[in-house]
Symmetry: C2
Subunit: 201 residues, 2 copies
């Protein structure tokens, strides 16, 4: 019934995501989107609603991918800390798709919060999920004697999450990936148990 879509909705959302990611919400105009997406204005509005809704959809797509990456990253048989470390490397590498634009989520939080409740909710959800995932793995690390006794698993999870947000800011100021890697090295050096005992319980 009716004329079919001539474009792949998800592919279009990906391109919108890259544009918003690169330029930010306010600095991206509908003209930019028309040009980048290769669609008429009418088609965009019909398919995605207004500019803000399109942005939220694009951000949701970005966060959804991050969620997936997180959910499928852990093998509960191997030590947790090295896996966490590898996850961060992968997370940051995934963001290099948009070369020096940092993290779409961090950028959006910084630009639009606390005034944009829709974006706030979506971001909060992903951050909470990430923190919980970290906490589970860190608790596993603690039980395995990997984690420094100076910190609890939930606190370490929150600390790591916070640090990663900070890394995304620092990457925009100094894009040298070696700096990022070095910073993660330091963090994990501190998190590691200096006297790795046998499993405690």
């Amino acid at each position: 019934m009716g004329r079919p879509r001539t474009f792949d909705e998800e592919a279009i959302l990906d391109r919108a995501m890259l544009l918003f990611w690169r330029k930010g919400y306010e600095a991206t105009s509908m003209n930019d989107l028309v040009e980048e997406l290769g669609l008429g204005r009418g088609s965009i509005y019909a398919a995605f609603g207004d500019k803000h809704r399109l942005f939220v959809l694009a951000l949701g797509r970005y966060l959804g991918r991050q969620d997936d990456l997180l959910a499928s990253s852990f093998d509960d048989l191997r030590p947790a800390l090295p896996q966490l470390r590898e996850l961060f490397e992968r997370l940051l590498q995934a963001d290099s798709v948009c070369s020096e634009s940092g993290c779409f989520s961090v950028n959006s939080i910084a630009e639009l919060l606390p005034n944009d409740e829709e974006v706030a909710d979506r971001a909060r959800r992903s951050l909470r999920k990430a923190e919980q995932t970290f906490a589970v793995q860190l608790e596993r690390a603690r039980r395995g004697g990997e984690l420094s006794p100076a910190i609890g698993a939930p606190e370490a999870a929150h600390l790591l999450l916070t640090l990663v947000q900070g890394l995304q800011i620092m990457r925009k100021v100094d894009p040298d990936p070696a700096r990022t890697t070095a910073c993660l090295d330091s963090a994990f050096a501190l998190l590691r148990n200096p006297v790795p005992a046998l499993a405690l319980s």
Copy 2:
């Protein structure tokens, strides 16, 4: 010679700073500024140039104050780590002027980098200076046996700087100051030397 200014340039810059801080660069219009600053458009342009220059001046004012806070925060006779910890508390408290808007510098980096070289330069300068100040104090901490041997002073400085940027993002997502304090507690718990020896050298 000529008619004198009827306004205090620095007071006006402060108000512009608060507005840009609250709304971001792109979302703040000249109309907003005219209304907030209580000046005619012409006066603003005559005194500060265009919108972008005004923004850079406002950001410079913000960063200048942070620089001052940092420069005058350390007593080389007392232990370094607690002083660093107090500094962070003061930094975050200073930002509470603009209740839930996070950090003007972090917001600006996220919104405008990597496309705005002027903002990038100004922000880089302050971050470098902060990192160096941290490093000096952490080196003092290391020599005094305060710092964990698991990390060097420069690395700890970079780690702390990164963490604070992250805290500014997290604060926008969850404004509860207790979370921020707890995160700093965790970080310093890890940085502290678990076996505080006597001064080594």
